[in-house]
Amino acid sequence: MSPQLEVQLIAVIIAAACALPGVFLVLRRMAMLSDAISHTVLLGIVLGYFLTRDLASPLLFIGAAATGVLTVALVELVSGTGLVKEDAAIGLVFPALFSIAVILISRYAGNVHLDVDSVLLGELAFAPFDRVNLFGLDLPRALAVGAGVLVLNALLLAFFYKELKLATFDAGLAAALGFAPALIHYGLMTVVSVTAVAAFDAVGSILVIALMVAPPATAYLLTNHLPRLIGLSVLIGAGSALAGYAMASTLNVSIAGSMATITGFAFLVAFLFAPERGLLAQAVRRQQQRWSFAEQMLVLHLLNHEGTPEARDECTPSHLSAHLRWPDTFAEAVVRRATQHGYVQPGALLALTDQGRSLAQDASMR
């Protein structure tokens, strides 16, 4: 495999691995915990390094994942006192842990290849140079780790799908039925931590946040169906990874940055053009409601005065503007639409058709 292909494969696998727990972070309104965890894993790596003095040790991985869970536990501890809100608790805990990590690095590990920049920013282009031999195959380490985490996440999701779904949408019922919501919460947070550690090595912690939150948020604008939401998130994440790589190699810019930008672009497209929830669809719907409301007003007005002596005055297009306070052009447009829809017979004196009369009666019944 060429290094370029390997980089793309790593990106796709990591994007998919991030999207799976990301869906539940978004649904459970815990997206910012991914931010906290992806920063504090640095502390775990530093502490693991001090214990082992080896940057390749698996203990670093475990230590980092454990710090992620510790972060969540500390956030719960602080917000559990009831003295600060949960968002403030997150904002208190992770900068403190991150600061400790930065100080430990600059004070005791200055001469080691362990710098804050590479943790936060990541460099996917270098991933193919760090290789492991697995079952006789010569693979990039990030690929092996990423694939392992993806499989793990998929298996856990498959096994605990029902529990996760229930605890996410109705925590109270889940607790009443005897599923332990706290267990599910910490299980999910462990998965998020492990995924963040596996991913940030290759792509940097900021892209981890982008890959965990942006594809599920995008998919959330497109569907109501949980399995579809998960599938779409994986697809959008993987697609953004590939498109981001293409953008990075064309413009010769940061790969992780390009991928994050593309996930944002995907969200923007969904935000504007999603079939039901996009801004455009919302605007179209509002416009349609405006017209249909105006037509209902018109037929009600006509029904009101139908067959009465003042009908001659009331039921002319020019009077509509005075009585319904519509601008002339708007009144004309409404009459034209109502005529097209067959509610009103055109003429100097507006009259209801049968269809228009039944619409007016329906509307007045409501």
Partner: protein, 308 residues
């Protein structure tokens, strides 16, 4: 010389250095201003449950900084600050738009804006670095903060902008108080809630942008949240809370800067954050009426009350 008197001597030296050492004095003044401004504004962010806004917006400022640098080709702090502020402001408006018009919640919106803007900033940064005269080191330190490099003109700039921000806070004090505690009531009184929210968020962004240079992107959120969260424990009055938060922020800044100036490998930003975190821990534990310890004691007393 015994250990204790040696310790004392170091302390005295530090205090003298604070008044005589030019660099330390400049840095301490700068972070004191920053701590006071972000503490005061952070009180509103914490009360309005926007504690993580600082984190997201400080990341979102990156593309603005890089773009300002690319367009003007200068590293004038004021120009970079304006770029940072514009990008963060755009991020905040987008966040507001997303949460108002879709079912995406605040937390996802924040994470989204944070990561995507930062990613865009990385892309721009890698573009900027290719131009030969670009000083990438300068931009990176801007990202992670470099308090030690502060000069007097930076402090003056910070003090000026900070004073302006606090002045606006004072002018709209009553309105900000109202929209922070009861926005519905404020709206029923005809107070323009949304415009005031945007103004308040803009002021918070100015504070964030001021702090970027000193404590860096990642740690700026602590400067907004921690002093306010600590101050909240000591009082129920908004005015006192804002004053206390400003005091805590400034104190943590000065103490942190002084400690980091004396020891090798203690970067200023993280040291300040640890100082302010220590204030938070003490406040959460020992604050009268609210603190954990106080509640324990009161719980015991209530438990014993029937016997007495």
């Amino acid at each position: 010389m015994d250990r204790q008197s040696r310790q004392r001597e170091i302390e005295v030296e530090l205090i003298i250095a604070l008044f005589t050492d030019y660099t330390l004095r400049t840095v301490a003044l700068g972070v004191a201003v920053l701590g006071a401004v972000s503490g005061a504004l952070g009180s509103f962010a914490v009360l309005r449950r926007q504690a993580l806004l600082g984190d997201a917006m400080s990341h979102a400022a990156l593309p603005g900084i890089v773009l300002a640098f690319m367009l003007t080709g200068q590293r004038n702090p004021l120009i970079l600050l304006i770029g940072a502020g514009m990008a963060a402001w755009l991020g905040a408006l987008l966040l507001l738009g997303i949460t108002r018009t879709t079912r995406i919640k605040e937390d996802s919106g924040l994470a989204l804006i944070l990561a995507v803007f930062f990613g865009l900033g990385l892309v721009l940064l890698s573009l900027a670095q290719r131009s030969p005269d670009a000083a990438q080191a300068g931009l990176k330190t801007f990202l992670f903060g470099q308090a030690a490099a502060m000069v007097a003109s930076d402090v003056w700039l910070m003090a000026g902008i900070g004073a302006g921000v606090l002045l606006i806070l004072g002018i709209f004090w009553k309105q900000f108080k109202l929209i922070s505690f009861d926005p519905d009531f404020a709206a029923s009184l005809g107070v323009p809630v949304r415009r005031l929210s945007v103004l308040l968020t803009s002021l918070i962004i100015v504070a964030i942008v001021l702090g970027l240079q000193t404590v860096g992107v990642v740690l700026m959120s602590a400067m907004l949240v921690a002093p306010a969260a600590a101050a909240r424990q000591w009082t129920n009055r908004l005015g006192l809370m804002v004053l206390l938060a400003a005091l805590f922020g400034a104190t943590a800044g000065v103490v942190g800067a002084t400690i980091s100036a004396t020891a090798r490998g203690l970067s200023t930003g993280p040291t300040i954050v640890l100082c302010v975190s220590a204030i938070v821990v003490v406040s959460l534990l020992f604050a009268p009426e609210r603190g954990v310890l106080w509640n324990r004691l009161r719980g015991n007393r209530q438990f014993q009350a029937p016997e007495a």
